[in-house]
Amino acid sequence: MAVATFSQIDEYGFERPTTFDYKTYEDFMSKYLRILARRSKRWEELKESEKTRRTNILKRFVRKGIPITRRPIVWMSISGGQQAREQSNYTYLQLKERISNASINETIEIDLPRTFPDNIYFTKENILPRQLFNILSTFAHQNNDVGYCQGLNYIAGLLILATKSEEYSFWLLKVLVENILPKYYIKSMSGLLTDLAVLDELVEINEPILHRHIKAIGMPWAVTTTKWFICIYSEVLPIETVLRIWDCIFYEGSKIIFRVALTLIKMHKAEILECKDLADIVTCFKSMAHNPKVIDCHYFMSRIFKLPGRLSNKQLEELRNKHALAK
């Protein structure tokens, strides 16, 4: 039987690392391509209005993955990006004309070549880095509380790769930063610190033994999970898995971030419990991205709605209020 061979560059332009596990990926893709074809057909069968209107049907469809070609439109519609765009007093082009602050622009310029240096669309061509600059700088100029925060470069970069639209990427970045991930990126990063404390409590509730073990080793959550939260798993997990996570985040909001975190932690419980010190545990967390169960995004996404158990927006809000007040 012929063995499928995969290019050294993935379909989003990322060079596969020399350590890339082609066998695992091939096993996954041989199944996943069939799933993608089936999902794509199911989406075609939806009525036109059902493809973008927030209903339980669409929520279920989104959890099973938005077809790659539909992502830009569906993301815009389910996240509120389209609404923000229509209700804004200014068009993206008008906002873009305000880019003027030299200090902000300089900070962003420094990070452009440092964003996805392993992606050919960012390194071999000039178009995407320019678009990335426009999005980040336009965003920074219209939100003084956030300005430019490192990490947004990866989010905006992946938005461009997934939507192929500078304007959509801007509006999606805006709803992510301003509505979906409250106060993560402002200068005090208070929302991030709150959510790290919330994660700690959720792990304690869900996995008390694991929690005690991590505490005994003395690992602060910020050490391993700051990047998870700030980059919304981009540059952390495999790209297919990240995009499937983002599908759900745009529909269901930031609780998905906790579902993913708790699933990763629960899935690797045995490995974490074997860790003897901080070095072990950091290595363990880093290696989670290479687990075939995480690479298989379809399987992984089905787990995030089962493994962590119940997690409602109300519960999350209560925990956030508690830990925001505690500081």
């Binding site: 440092r114 005090s188 990063m189 910020a222 990047k227 700030i230 070095a279």
Partner: protein, 218 residues
């Protein structure tokens, strides 16, 4: 300045020194964004250099082992994010650290100012015995220099810091600065703090890749 360790030699496991002492030290890198903190670590740990190193979000953790006389010194290195707003996360990385490298970019005066702020913070907040080294990085760009060597040397002398100009790109002084730190660290069991559990434990190979250059286990 002659560079003793331009190229990282390939793995030479410090088995020969297995009977010697093993000390484990926590070292943190601090400094403004894009001065080359991650590049210094990448050069020291893997002997590599990337012209465009990805910006570090939160922090990265790596380990590297060097041999000094009869002692195996294992560095647990915390490479932190440089952007000002990540500052509030920094204390958890320098808390309990036995050593710090504060990095600035010799072509950018502002980053030297920021380095001084970090030194002040460490002197106030970190453990009193912490060994602090100041690294003026990007020495390969000396033709665009904005911070004079003497200025930084005087500042380092006044504050009893180790000081070297380094280049992660050419590898100049990279191993040397880590070795100089290792030499200044107390190598008895009590002082190596976190190493208590690491004593006698097999060294983790994980991330470390090639062992430290030149200096090791002669």
């Amino acid at each position: 300045m002659e560079n003793m360790a331009t190229r990282t030699q390939t793995a030479q496991r410090p088995n020969g020194s297995a009977q010697g002492k093993i000390c484990q030290f926590k070292l943190v890198l601090l400094g403004e964004s894009a001065v080359g903190k991650s590049s210094l670590v990448l050069r020291f740990v893997k002997g590599q250099f990337h012209e465009y190193q990805e910006s570090t979000i939160g922090a990265a953790f790596l380990t590297q082992t060097v041999c000094l006389d009869d002692t195996t010194v294992k560095f647990e290195i915390w490479d932190t994010a440089g952007q000002e707003r990540y500052h509030s996360l920094a204390p958890m990385y320098y808390r309990g650290a036995q050593a710090a490298i504060v990095v600035y970019d010799i072509t950018n005066q502002d980053t030297f100012g920021r380095a001084k702020t970090w030194v002040k913070e460490l002197q106030r907040q970190a453990s009193p015995n912490i060994v602090i080294a100041l690294a003026g990085n990007k020495q390969d760009l000396a033709n665009k220099r904005m911070v004079e060597f003497e200025e930084a040397q005087n500042y380092a002398d006044e504050n009893t810091l180790l000081f070297m100009e380094t280049s992660a790109k050419t590898a100049m002084n990279v191993n040397d600065i880590f070795l100089a730190i290792a030499k200044k660290l107390p190598r008895n069991e009590q002082a190596s703090g976190a190493s208590a559990s690491g004593q006698g434990r097999r060294l983790a190979e994980g991330d470390t890749g090639a062992r430290a250059a030149g200096s090791c286990c002669k």
